[in-house]
Chain length 136, copies 4
């Protein structure tokens, strides 16, 4: 877990995108983003890619909060509202894990606890411990 946290904090793309890893506990994580000019798209709105990256960072931290390395294999994201807020927050919770897979839901909210986006991620857990059992 400590090794995974260090790896998360060494995420160059996340850093380059202005993201902060707020919390990382087994099975869950929080990230935040202070909106800056480089997060905007050509319409002057917060970029879908920036919102995705914030949620993806929380997802990666949550599924890598155990002793296995996990990589994203599928993600769905729904954009509910445009952003009118100086900050965005993402909160990731694993909903289920098997030996080889981890399902995770991420909610992106703004300063007013308004739901901005819902993110559903599925990760493949590499190098599972040899003693594990279970369906997948």
């Amino acid at each position: 877990m400590e090794q995974n946290r260090v790896r998360m904090e060494g995420d160059v793309f996340a850093k380059h995108s202005g993201l902060t890893l707020v919390e990382m506990q087994p099975g869950r994580a929080k990230t935040s983003m202070a909106i800056r000019p480089e997060h905007l798209n050509g319409l002057g709105m917060v970029h879908g890619g920036a919102i995705f990256t914030l949620a993806d960072f929380a997802f990666a931290a949550a599924v890598n909060s155990h002793d296995v390395q996990a990589v994203a294999i599928n993600v769905s994201i729904s954009y509910l509202r445009p952003v009118n807020s100086a900050m965005l927050y993402a909160e990731a919770n694993e909903t289920h894990t098997t030996r080889a897979l981890a399902w995770c839901t991420v909610h992106v909210t703004d300063d007013n606890q308004q739901l901005i986006a819902i993110f559903q991620g599925l990760a493949y857990r590499k190098a599972p411990p040899a003693t594990s059992t279970g369906r997948a």
Copy 2:
């Protein structure tokens, strides 16, 4: 369309992420990304957020290639392979449009035409022309 192209080229997040708008035609678009250190995650792999943002940029250009403004409402992305390539390319094609909606498929490929990711985007077309007809 020209106004939309200017807007796409003014996408600050895309620029900040090192993306290039290669082509923008009615209903389709291509983007590219030369992999740089800031595209990597804590595992030293190209970040899922960077791959998403590349695909999302092509998606945004394709659905904004007409005379209406379109915003992303839902996206699904599947990550098929890790990246071993200096460049990535995204090619977006609208598969269907109605008055209010645009469906778009984006393929992300590497230097060897290997498929890296498949992206399925759905956009809401704002301010549709008053004369349009159709189901949605």
Copy 3:
């Protein structure tokens, strides 16, 4: 709403699939399915299509619980666990609506309140009332 409820109860495919509409309130709905032999796949497991249809029925009821007609445009479903239960339940809640769109999350659970599947649906609301306002 009453008209929509009648329409939901007239859903032939849902009836043919052995589904029950348990509850339908503005913005939410519950459905159930008593597992029968015709819900099984070639492996003797409850069919993904049956689980989807149960969730989809709750989704349809929730987004059609208002005075507008709504049709599904995109759905993502994650299958977390195989089913070991005589009954399945789906609970749908709209997470956000605009003039033209409705986002809805559906949880499928078994007799032991175990989460079986998560369903994320997006519907297009047809014939919106002329007096509505808003982003989409």
Copy 4:
């Protein structure tokens, strides 16, 4: 493969839903559905659940066309057009497989080769052969 084909042909839910397995080759499959009254929803339209089940059946056949057993873990489906056709067809193609995972795209079309729905499925391959190698 023969065992898997037999299993597919023993899919009770698919049979109950009026589906036909037209073709099953390594990595791809085709299914069809002759529209019947029990495929309709409360609006008299072909039910999203019926379209999903048709696509899901092709997906299951494609990912089970090898010597491993595969189960669906995530699916996204986009509904592009309402159905005005007596028949529907689904064509599934694996886009990539690893030891443990299979990605598959399914196109649902009508009698006029119009695209009705796009389905993106991800399957977990159980009991992978001990000699396999690769990333996942």
